[in-house]
Amino acid sequence: MNTTVNIETLTQQLETGVDSLAKSTLQDYLTQAKTDGQAAIDEMKANLQKWTLEVESGALTADDLAFLIKEQSALDEMTALKQAGLAEVKVDEFKSNLVSMVTNTIFSFIKV
């Protein structure tokens, strides 16, 4: 019975697996977070321009504008919290998938 395990190959396969897992789980999230962040900035800019024009036209008062700017700030804080929460979800997914990947790799090397 062959009882030897090629530790080098096993380690290499685990490293490749971790690398691939990190890319698929976390890199996609980073790209999405950047896109969402840029969209939030663009929207904030557009809102400020629109509100300023509405103050000039008399549709909004100075008090309305002050409130809306603070409301936008509250929304930005919530968007940041959402992204932080989604990052935690991705970390949990990564940890969970890591266990499966390591378990499967080890069992593919060792017949139990």
Partner: protein
């Protein structure tokens, strides 16, 4: 003997990783939380639309909305590993803040609000609710848990 050691090592590695994975950092998806957020969004936006009327005409509706929002926050606050969602609810409903809670306070104080302001504020409140439900729907579903 060697086979025994291999099995023992594998068991230790897998057990350690399983323990690591079981320590989730954030709560799983909760259908009730998601339903509450989407349902209260509709109620809140409908109530905000009435802010062109005198506050006294809708005092009971606002009180009911505030009660439902408080219940939703209380539910989220007491759920384990749910700090992020709880913080989002605090920002949304704080009566001294500048999101939905602050809007209702301003309506109460000023008695009536202008349509242009209401419409802009509704957009931001709508996005705030979307943020909460978006985070909830992004959480891991219990059926998707591997270990």
């Amino acid at each position: 003997m060697f086979t025994y050691l291999k099995r023992k090592s594998s068991f230790i590695i897998i057990s350690t990783l399983s323990l690591l994975a079981s320590c989730a950092t954030i709560s799983n998806f909760d259908q009730y939380s998601y339903t509450q957020a989407t349902s209260l969004k509709v109620d809140a936006l409908n109530t905000m639309t009435n802010a062109t009327d005198s506050f006294s005409l809708h005092q009971a509706d606002v009180a009911q909305l505030r009660l439902q929002l408080s219940k939703a926050y209380e539910y989220e606050k007491n759920k384990p590993k749910n700090e992020v969602t709880s913080k989002m609810w605090i920002i949304l409903i704080d009566s001294n803040g500048t999101s939905l809670g602050g809007f209702l306070t301003r309506w109460q104080k000023d008695s009536k609000l202008d349509t242009a302001f209401i419409n802009q504020s509704k957009i931001l409140v709508s996005q705030s609710f979307d943020g909460i439900s978006g985070l909830e729907s992004g959480k891991i579903k219990a059926t998707a848990i591997v270990n």
